[in-house]
């Protein structure tokens, strides 16, 4: 895999930009997709948000200072794009974010791109009840298996805080699944 610093440099150089962008998309599209999908839940919306994310990355690469890793920077853009997407959609339908997310989960049963059994569906319903931060942390740690250090850089939260969030999320999910 190409070195990150070289990739960033190439992205900022006109003559190498197109090729470097292709490498960037190939390297990160799947990881960013799953981050977005865990927030917007359906494929079509995830596809829209993923495209917007890369368009934003492409337009703003000159502003990337290298303070954080390229991967964390893009992950942060993807996460914000997905969260904003949800908020916009909820507003458009005149309902709260929570109601909109409940609706997304209930649509999963009819979603051709969700092949979950009863337990997997219940787990998604349970995740939908978590506060935003806990939801993000749980999805990133449990399903995407990111390291706490990586999540810390993406969400700009201390590792200790993340561990506490994850612990709380797990407890709430267990409780929800037991009650149901």
């Amino acid at each position: 895999m190409i070195e990150e610093e070289t990739l960033v440099l190439d992205l900022k150089t006109k003559s190498k930009q197109a090729q470097a962008f292709e490498v960037l998309v190939n390297t990160y599209k799947e990881r960013l997709y799953w981050q977005i999908r865990s927030i917007v839940l359906n494929h079509q919306d995830a596809d829209d948000v993923l495209q917007n994310t890369f368009i934003k990355v492409y337009k703003n690469i000159d502003g990337f200072k290298g303070d954080s890793k390229l991967f964390s920077w893009m992950y942060r853009i993807a996460t914000n794009e997905a969260l904003n997407f949800i908020k916009k959609r909820a507003k458009l339908q005149g309902i709260s974010d929570t109601d909109y997310q409940d609706k997304l989960v209930s649509n999963l049963e009819a979603d051709v791109y969700f092949e979950g059994d009863e337990i997997q569906l219940q787990l998604q319903k349970a995740i939908a009840t978590l506060p935003e931060k806990q939801k993000l942390v749980f999805n990133m740690k449990y399903f995407q298996e990111l390291k706490y250090e990586e999540i810390s850089e993406i969400l700009d939260t201390s590792v200790g805080g993340l561990k506490a969030s994850y612990h709380l999320a797990v407890k709430k999910l267990e409780q929800y699944l037991k009650e149901d």
Partner: protein, 168 residues
């Protein structure tokens, strides 16, 4: 706290340093009932064809309009000329300066209704002074006390609820 000098027991190296991490990991270990697979799928070849779709999207992005097009220069010149003509004919001595008071209440209301400030009622409540605010500040015409009593009669079943000091 350091261990007692006479204490013959030892702990493995950096045991206490890593204790918190180990404990947290253990606490956070989900029950085995959590499925590891999230069950989300993507259409066949989605990731393969994604680059092409994205390329098309990038090419469809609206073109950047140059900052100083000839048309713009003409437009700016024309507006300067128009302003000069109006300014020459304007009665500079009139003192009809517009102030906040001249705004119609309906215009202010419409502005707040049509512009989204992204503030929830709670956030607005945080910046509004509570102590010096009377309910009459929000009303354009005063409420007759008879009407108020009628309303309370019809809509409040438990009058104790109105005893704010007790319910605060």
């Amino acid at each position: 706290m350091n261990k007692n000098k006479n204490n013959p027991f030892k702990t493995p190296e950096s045991y206490f340093n890593s204790f918190e991490d180990k404990l947290m990991d253990k606490l956070s270990k989900p029950e085995s009932t959590f499925p590891k697979d999230s069950a989300f799928n993507v259409p066949d070849n989605y990731f393969k064809s994604f680059n092409e779709t994205l390329k098309k999207q990038l090419n469809n992005e609206p073109k950047v309009i140059p900052l100083f097009s000839i048309k713009k220069v003409f437009a700016v010149a024309a507006s300067i000329a128009a302003i000069a003509v109006i300014a020459l004919n304007y009665d500079w001595n009139s003192s009809n300066d517009l102030s906040f008071e001249d705004l119609a209440n309906t215009d202010i209301e419409a502005y707040f209704e049509n512009n989204d400030f992204g503030l929830s009622p709670y956030e607005i409540a945080e910046v509004l002074p509570v102590t010096n605010t009377e309910y009459s500040d929000f009303l354009s015409s005063p409420i007759e006390s008879d009407n108020l009593l009628d309303y309370l009669n019809e809509n409040v079943s438990d009058f104790d609820e109105l005893n704010f000091e007790d319910n605060e």
